[in-house]
Symmetry: C2
Subunit: 249 residues, 2 copies
DNA sequence: TTATCATTGTGTAACCATGACGCAATGTAA
DNA sequence: TTACATTGCGTCATGGTTACACAATGATAA
């Protein structure tokens, strides 16, 4: 079977990966979580590193399996290594009960987890649970509470890393549909930052980055004045990603 | 003997730590490197993680052994995981020849290395080589070229992380002596950033952070006009570390 | 002893980004 | 037809940034 829980001898011991997958839908920042069987607890999608792949490839492979997506925007942000995090891992009993002949010693070892965050377009994701989980679903980031081990720390760390990223990198291309309105983009920023921004100042600042093209279309069927649609100027967006937005020194 | 090369069963397999220790001396940014025996190559000070310590504790322990310093400012910045990095590790033959009865399989395994950078006051460091190295010494960052495996990537990554850090965190307390002049602090920033800054604008900006106290002393015995001495205002410095300097959103 | 000159302390004017807010146009819903 | 939330566009005050000017200092050279 194509899950990481069998044949665990193909993985490096002691090292795991946990990814915080961010999506944006209905003006809410969401995180992809697995609901574990019999536990009423959630867990981040994670996995292990094969003996001949980089951690980036591993994170990418794991998320492809979880979301169906190739080419996910992924970034490592922190390693979580408290010795406590390997004690009382509630997934181990599940694994043991579901896969009787498994070599459980692999999971009983201490694990250091490399935290990644991913930015994906909500609508493109096909959440895929596995043997250990009842379902794989989007959860509002504020509701992502009842999680195992230190996954709450990992989520908070990812959000913090994303907020910092916002200051010297454009964000949005990986989180929004191709066409979007200025208020939608602003709501994304507001949700990530956890605070309100002035509509007019936001527009001026984001336009000054020169990463947006305004289209000759407007969003129709919406209440009130219809807003323009924008798309990212991929060439300039890429340049901004590489050079960084001006910041400080 | 108190080196990591014996009793390697007390360490987690597959995981190593490499630290880029920055020091500042005679207006140059320096990195602490080990010169390896018989190789004419340099290596970053590194080590392994004990089975019951965090990676932060491990990095701290390793650097205490290398520098004699407690309470080093340390920060993880990236994990290096190319499978290639574990091939042809030139330290393995040295270990094998020096410690004949060692279990070399530990070192022959693939390693994922967690990169830390450290900021230390140059004059306080007592560089300590070990069995594998002829010496442990400060090398100008621009001359840190002839290094093993991917240590050059790690050094570059650390410098990049430090430059980003500069934008939302004060730097200097860990790198300068207690009393210093404004030109010295400026030179530190210039060296890290790799570019010249305007003297007067630098002073205005750094003073606006309110992390400096100007003393009623001047540096004496120096050519030309004698500059004031400054020290960091620890309370405000700490506050700035926690809250971050205003930056962007 | 005096002049030289690189360096430091202080200041200033033009420019740009930011924060706070005004107002007219739009388009659905009452 | 009117009400009203929302959008597009603009203004003004503030503060930070850039690019300089100028006098004071103090070792060094004449």
């Amino acid at each position: 079977m194509n899950t990481p829980y069998h044949n665990n001898q193909e993985f490096l011991s002691h090292i795991s990966i946990d990814s915080v997958v961010f999506g944006f839908h209905e003006n809410e920042l969401k995180v992809l979580l697995l609901e574990l069987k019999d536990l009423e607890k959630y867990a981040l999608p994670g996995g292990f590193v094969k003996k001949d792949e980089t951690i980036e490839d591993a994170a990418s492979r794991i998320l492809k399996w979880r979301t169906g997506l190739d080419e996910i925007f992924l970034q490592q942000f922190k390693v979580f290594s408290s010795p406590d995090r390997s004690k009382d891992n509630p997934t181990i009993p599940i694994i043991k009960s579901l896969i009787p002949n498994i070599d459980i010693s692999f999971y009983n070892d201490r694990f250091i987890s490399i935290g990644f965050f991913a930015l994906v377009e909500y609508t493109l994701v096909n959440p895929n649970p596995d043997e250990l989980s009842i379902k794989c679903e989007w959860v509002n980031i504020d509701d992502a509470k009842n999680v195992i081990i230190d996954h709450s720390d990992i989520i908070n760390g990812a959000l913090e890393a994303l907020r910092i990223q916002l200051n010297y990198s454009p964000i949005g291309y990986n989180l929004l549909p191709q066409k979007f309105t200025m208020p939608e983009l602003q709501k994304l920023y507001e949700t990530i930052l956890g605070k309100q921004l002035d509509r007019r100042n936001f527009q001026r600042k984001i336009l000054s980055y020169n990463i947006l093209n305004r289209l000759d279309e407007k969003r129709v069927g919406v209440a009130h004045k219809s807003p323009y649609l924008y798309e990212f100027d991929l060439e300039n967006y890429q340049k901004a990603l590489e050079n960084g937005l001006k910041s400080g020194w």
